[in-house]
Symmetry: C2
Subunit: 124 residues, 2 copies
């Protein structure tokens, strides 16, 4: 049995390598990919491979910051570097039968903190 | 021993109840809270209790969507409802000695998807 941790680790390694064959072997045929903040969905392995291979053609690179995994679900935090910009990607995974069946991605953006709470925080 | 899963579950229950005493009992004295996207940090339990009690005075409510936990770390996905708006909150936790020692929060915002990949997705 492949652990959730190993599946997510292999997922990001294959993405970074643009090894879409290896990437595809980690996915269920009916895998679902969702981006809640842009309300986008991709359904099925073939469509999701196309989305990745065709949708992002810049020289991006990712590094895994953290993978948290239990039985059947996982979450990861990566840093994406693309055209000199670095930003985090946060992903929740569902697994079944040693394959990834659902991926939910969040790409938060930088923002200015509310001035009203400036006395309660420091800047990093 | 309190599991990471139980700690995070209790953390969100105490926050929703505004039970800052119970909330504080889950935190290490030197707990660190960070918001990478606004580059804010709060250091120490007393300061973090103040940040929560004083920083957010609207009638917000949260529901836990998911907690992923392993030994010593966890990630959660909540939905926050505040003044009629609902948005997700994504949090990574570090634990030590049955207490939360670090909390990293992300609050992604909605955005319009790039038109160039519209043919690769459906809208949800």
């Amino acid at each position: 049995m492949t652990s959730s941790q190993a599946l997510v680790s292999a997922y990001w390694a294959a993405a970074e390598a643009r090894d879409w064959d290896a990437f595809g072997r980690l996915l269920a045929e009916d895998v679902r990919y969702e981006l809640p903040m842009s309300r986008e969905r991709v359904s099925g392995k073939a469509a999701y491979l196309r989305f990745n291979a065709e949708g992002f053609t810049t020289d991006w690179h990712l590094t895994v910051q953290r993978i948290v995994a239990d039985e059947g679900t996982a979450a990861s935090w990566i840093e994406m570097n693309d055209a000199g910009e670095t930003y985090p990607g946060l992903t929740f995974f569902d697994m079944a039968d040693d394959l990834i069946v659902k991926i939910t991605d969040f790409w938060p953006e930088a923002y200015e903190p509310p001035a009203a709470r400036a006395h309660l925080t420091e800047r990093i």
